[in-house]
């Protein structure tokens, strides 16, 4: 039933602004970014990247005599570890909270608003407000634990592992649980009432009801937040930079920190940085495809 219409410029006027910006600020950088991965490039002195084949990748991946080799291994391993630990928590904690709130305790609207609050803060604010809490001698956590256990607890939250990662994961979960919480809550509330009531009449307890009805009902949202959260966490930057400055012993240095430093440092080795970025990007694509596949099957 498609009508044959005269060619008209109108539709193109509608899409033009987005397309133009898209080409300038996305397409060109993407193409140049891929090309730069195979180039030597000092962004301060070179107008354009200078093609040098696979040299960057050779240095990063095989030449253990350069520091890029160590940086990439370290940054990649740290980032992946962080993703593996923090993503499940950023899904499970809000899910748990959403289930609790879905029972509508008195004041649930207030609690919901409260739990969402940290989400609107910027990461630098979050770190500013938190980092004294982790202080070894004068911080809240150590002194609380000391009082609780009756013996002196002096954990180096920010300069000893696994505590430094714990500290970063804690503020990450605290910071971003709100977004996922509200999504899950809306999804749970969207499950038809009669389905829930039918389960109650069947005598299913809250736990069984969760597994049998709630969880399958919100699977699409879980899948979607899982992928978004994973991609987001791969870009870990602010928490590490501000809370631990990449320490101790570079064990919280992330890929984004290395890329920023190499490309925009006092001597710009943007080619190497671009190669690292390309490899991180590839990992991100592969991981999100896998996640998509895994969760889609459970639909």
């Amino acid at each position: 039933m498609r009508k044959k219409r005269k060619w008209s410029i109108t539709p193109y006027l509608f899409i033009a602004p987005q397309l133009i910006l898209f080409i300038i600020f996305f397409l060109i950088p993407a193409v140049v970014g891929i090309f730069a991965a195979f180039s030597k490039w000092n962004i301060y002195t070179d107008a354009a990247p200078i093609f040098n084949g696979l040299e960057n990748f050779r240095q990063i991946l095989t030449d253990s005599a350069t520091s890029y080799y160590t940086m990439f291994r370290n940054g990649m391993s740290n980032t992946v570890h962080f993703v593996l630990i923090s993503v499940p928590l950023c899904i499970l904690v809000p899910l748990f909270m959403a289930v609790i709130l879905s029972f509508k305790p008195w004041g649930h609207k207030f609690f919901q608003a409260l739990f969402y609050l940290p989400n609107i803060f910027s990461i630098s604010t979050v770190v500013l407000v938190w980092y004294y809490v982790y202080n070894r001698n004068e911080g809240l956590i150590n002194n609380f634990l000391t009082g609780l256990l009756g013996k002196v607890v002096d954990i180096n939250w920010l300069s000893e592992q696994p505590f430094a990662w714990t500290a970063i994961v804690i503020i990450t979960v605290w910071w971003c649980l709100g977004g996922n919480l509200v999504i899950y809550l809306a999804a749970i509330n969207g499950i038809p009432k009669d389905v829930m009531e039918a389960a109650d009449i069947d005598g299913a307890g809250p736990f069984k009801r969760f597994l049998k009805i709630t969880l399958p009902g919100i699977m699409p949202q879980i899948s979607y937040t899982l992928i978004l959260t994973t991609i987001g966490q791969f870009n870990l930057y602010g928490q590490s930079l501000m809370l631990t400055a990449g320490g101790p012993n570079n064990s919280t240095y992330t890929m984004m920190m290395y890329i920023r430093e190499l490309a925009f440092g006092s001597s710009s080795v943007a080619g190497i940085a671009a190669s690292m970025a390309l490899m991180v990007g590839a990992v991100m694509i592969v991981v999100s495809l896998i996640l998509n596949k895994l969760t889609a099957q459970k639909d």
């Binding site: 300069s159 990449g246 320490g247 101790p248 925009f264 001597s267």
Partner: protein
């Protein structure tokens, strides 16, 4: 209807903020030709920031044609940011403070304007007004890029009450040696008192390394600091931490000193005002040393530079020279705050005799400043391992190896 309301609300908010933003913008636009402000980026973020602000306030109170606006930035951040600023030529500061050891490499990467013509046109700034060592280092390959503000170094602040209790005679010669420390540190540790501290280990370690005759680079080009001597210095430091002679990871030495739980606080000359602020009974002396005969303190010098700036005019540069000359003549404030002003004018001020750092003002020869062209890269490389090795997380040889590697890679890419 609702949409329109919201849209109207947003638009009015945008217009409101854009109005104020444009207001700022047009002020700045004027900056290109008619703005009479010298934007001055300093690395002074503590009491030094306040002291510099006092000098600037005094200068602005003389009603100069160009007033100075002081912007404090933590030094790590300033050094990260400056290459981006200069290379993009957006919002370049008119005047900037740099550590003298950064000047050679930055001058080579074309980050500063040479000052020779500005200095001679202005005529108020002369070499003989400044301490030689500070003045000479502002020159690279025959061109002057830096005018010195001060010399600053690491010193030891000591708690007089604790010294009285544990080692009353240690300061008879005005110096503290590691041999002496070995005699009483265990006893202090048993009472929960630390003898000395890890504060900014790069300064501490380099002082000790140079006291023992070490050097960062033998040939002046490639780094050669991964050697047995430097490893020993690191190892000694790590041992002191392990024996609780020295503060532990996560401690805040400044606070411990203020609380009377730390005997010797190795800190910068610039920390004087903070220590005074705590009201503790303290004195100031040389760094702890291996050898009293070779009493060297790792030091640096703050220098004024003009970052490369397409918009710099001769008139503005002249005003900047006026300001620098003013600071040179009115630098007591800077000494009062703990530093050693590079301008000899300060010596004419009698109040200087009462300053705790007088012993260094009289003996600038004890101050050693790096002349290694890639010192900036060394700073970045050492600042990481300098915390990791003493706290026992990395072996000295491994840490120094990776630091040296980092410097080598950095040089290769320049």
């Amino acid at each position: 209807m609702k949409l329109k309301k919201i849209a109207a609300l947003i638009m009015s908010a945008v217009m409101l903020t854009s109005f104020t933003a444009c207001g700022n913008g047009s002020d700045k636009e004027k900056g290109a030709d008619g703005d009479k402000t010298i934007t001055f980026w300093s690395v002074f973020t503590g009491g030094d920031g306040t002291a510099m602000q006092k000098i600037i306030d005094a200068y602005n109170a003389t009603n100069p044609e160009y007033t100075v606006e002081h912007i404090m930035t933590e030094q790590g951040e300033l050094y990260t940011k400056l290459p981006l600023v200069v290379n993009s030529q957006g919002g370049v500061p008119d005047l900037c403070i740099q550590h003298v050891d950064r000047i050679p490499s930055n001058a080579k990467s074309n980050m500063y304007l040479p000052l020779d013509n500005y200095i001679s046109a202005n005529g108020k700034i002369k070499a003989d007004q400044y301490i030689d060592s500070a003045w000479n280092m502002g020159e690279v390959d025959g061109s002057r890029y830096g005018i010195p503000l001060d010399l600053h170094s690491y010193v030891t602040y000591y708690n007089k009450d604790l010294v009285e209790k544990y080692c009353p005679s240690v300061l008879d010669d005005g110096m503290i040696t590691f041999d002496e420390i070995a005699g009483f540190a265990d006893q202090a540790a048993a009472d929960g008192v630390y003898t000395y501290a890890i504060t900014w280990p790069r300064y501490e370690l380099l002082s000790w390394y140079y006291q023992l005759g070490g050097t960062l680079s033998v040939d002046g080009k490639m780094p050669s600091f991964n050697n047995e001597l430097f490893q020993k210095v690191f190892q000694d430091f790590a041992d002191a931490v392990a024996k609780k002679w020295c503060t532990q990871d996560g401690d805040q030495p400044n606070n411990l000193f203020a609380q009377g739980k730390l005997m010797f606080l190795p800190e910068g000359t610039w920390t004087l005002s903070t220590v005074e602020y705590t009201g503790i009974n303290f004195g100031e002396t040389y760094m702890i040393t291996y050898d009293t005969a070779n009493m060297l303190q790792w030091a640096s010098s703050h220098q004024f530079v003009i970052p490369r700036n397409d918009k710099m005019t001769d008139e503005k540069a002249n005003a900047i020279m006026d300001f620098i000359a003013f600071v040179g003549e009115n630098c007591y404030e800077w000494a009062d705050y703990g530093q050693i002003p590079a301008s000899k004018a300060v010596l004419n001020d009698e109040r200087v005799n009462d300053l705790p750092q007088k012993f260094l003002i009289d003996n600038p020869g004890a101050l050693v400043i790096s002349d290694y062209v890639y010192y900036g890269a060394v700073v970045e490389a050492l600042d990481t391992v300098a915390y990791e090795i003493p706290f026992g997380r990395v072996k000295p040889a491994d840490g120094l190896q990776s630091a040296q590697q980092l410097v080598e890679d950095n040089i290769k890419n320049q």
